[in-house]
Subunit: 354 residues, 2 copies
């Protein structure tokens, strides 16, 4: 938490400062620390003011707002999803977010969240797997080797000790890049020529593809007993990755049912199909994995509390740090009800150098 | 619109730059120009993707997100409302907002909106009065002389030619400040000792009080035939300003009924009580004022399209201007799917001076 300062100033964590914070911390340590915040907020789930994200859909993508509050802090994230963006050199997903003080409504922090979202998504996946994956899991298939893939790999290494990765992507150059980026980080990596090959011997199967349409990345015959499926890519209406038959054989765990029913893999199932809310596994109210042969599925779409946790973590990390800039974001007149007078006094000042 | 620049950079209009933009333009010119944008977007109403604002209520206030899109641009505003904030030297209402490109989902502009909201609220009030107030109105009662009051006064002067103001506030020092701030701006101002006195001879009555509770600023006997009531302060559940009997005698015009039914003066009326959507008056589909004796009421709560209009205006005004800073807000890897690689390349760079 930055030292007390003028009421008009809001700390801003730029992309560059976020990168430096991650690098100074070490990506795996960052993921482990971030995961403790995410897990803590799953445990405090019932405290939160929760709402399914507010989506504005257009032909090529979606822009979403994701607010959440625990009654003391409020956070929201702005995030887009535009699969065609890569053609124009842009990111499919970019994001930024704000953390605020509920008592005053004043913003405490503005942060880039493109990188932070990749980290929180991976941290959340790994926490879910900690509760749901088979004991002693060492091998993960990672299908879809785009922007999210290395973060998933490192989170599963950091939190579960996964050291064997089997990569597959429709685009071999994506697999190659993922492998190169992860070189020297302590993972044994196999590049596979098909999804079928990738899942061979895997205890955990992570799907993180980006096409905005219903696709079948995994078919029923590819899923043996006892695996944990971490389905990350299916996260909006009309965008799924798994064949419906896999869902019917799995115990399904979700973040926030009202959102997941619309956006997750379970949009393929009836609206009353039984699923378990993951937070209840964290609190011990529900069982996670209950047998060796059980197929567990974390149908992850990304929920606002996870972004809340991530911003809360960053805010705590800024204490004693200089990895932020000061933004003159909130009007702060000498007398709070005298907004117009602030304008008049500005007019009376000599022009600044700008 | 700023010149083309790096994909990671988002222009940011600080409080200081917003003040300088308003001062360089002149507040009345700014209000007139802004009003053309607001009016144009009321005319294009049916194009918009609209939603009632998403509110997170707490004991002392509310934090709201207000998104809107016309299919090409997307905007949202973050705004709080905390009446007790003035006790700690803070603003009751602060705000900031973002304008984005729908096709890519990328932000185009981040702007302070505390000042801008005050201006857009006043501009919207004046546009409504242009359609609804009695012809030749010259005198306005302004009840509630807080942060919004001078902006209302100037907007009604700039757009309707109001030159006679009758002020009243429970707190005489607020009235005094308002009068001082408006001195020399071409308005004849009378400070009144009661709301009853303020409304004497007024053609337009503007209420802009800030208490977060149902109050009765205006009672039925105070409202003569033919006046236009511009009710600005009643804008959240449990916060109203007018006695119900006034509503029953008035023709009521609203912004977006699903939001106004919950937040506006009409929360005192049955959910199916007939009201007119103001945009239909702008397009000519519905009649505004239809007789000299009619009492018209603009039950204004502030709608997301007005913030969209304000951000669109600011974005256009930035063309050829240097009244913004550049924020490194969006991660922009050389290769769009290689977010992790961007981190690795950052690690390989020498440390910056920060």
């Amino acid at each position: 938490m930055p030292a007390e300062q003028n009421l008009n100033i809001v700390p801003f964590v730029s992309v560059e400062n976020m990168m430096d914070l991650v690098l100074a911390t070490g990506a795996e340590t960052f993921l482990r620390e971030l995961a403790t915040y995410v897990e803590e907020d799953f445990r405090r789930w019932e405290l939160f003011d929760k709402v399914a994200r507010i989506a504005s859909h257009s032909r090529d993508g979606v822009i979403e707002l994701m607010p959440a509050s625990d009654g003391q802090l409020y956070a929201f994230k702005y995030v887009n999803g535009h699969p065609k963006n890569t053609r124009s050199g842009r990111q499919t997903v970019t994001a930024f977010g704000v953390l605020s003080d509920v008592d005053s409504g004043y913003p405490l922090l503005l942060s880039e969240m493109t990188i932070l979202t990749a980290l929180r998504t991976a941290a959340t996946s790994a926490i879910a797997a900690k509760y749901l994956a088979p004991k002693g899991a060492k091998t993960m298939a990672l299908i879809g080797n785009g922007a999210q893939s290395e973060f998933q790999a490192l989170a599963f290494k950091a939190l579960l000790g996964i050291d064997n990765l089997r990569l597959y992507d429709l685009d071999p150059s994506a697999t190659e890049r993922c492998r190169n980026n992860l070189a020297g980080l302590g993972l044994t990596i196999t590049a596979c020529r098909s999804a079928e090959e990738a899942v061979e011997g895997a205890h955990i199967i992570t799907t993180a593809t980006a096409d905005k349409r219903n696709a079948t990345i995994l078919t029923d015959n590819m899923i043996g007993p006892g695996v944990h499926i971490n389905a990350v890519g299916g996260d909006s209406p009309g965008k799924t990755e798994l064949h419906r038959d896999i869902l019917l054989r799995s115990s399904i765990f979700v973040e926030y049912p009202p959102q997941t029913r619309v956006e997750g893999e379970i949009q393929q199932l009836p609206a009353d199909y039984p699923v378990t809310e993951f937070w209840q596994v964290v609190t011990g109210q529900k069982t996670g994995r209950d047998s060796d042969g059980q197929i567990t599925l974390f149908d992850s779409v990304g929920f606002a509390t996870e972004d809340f946790s991530a911003l809360r973590y960053i805010y705590d990390r800024l204490r004693g740090s200089n990895r932020f800039e000061n933004l003159d974001l909130v009007a702060d007149p000498d007398e709070p009800r005298d907004l117009f007078g602030m304008l008049l006094r500005r007019a009376a000042q000599p022009a600044t150098s700008k």
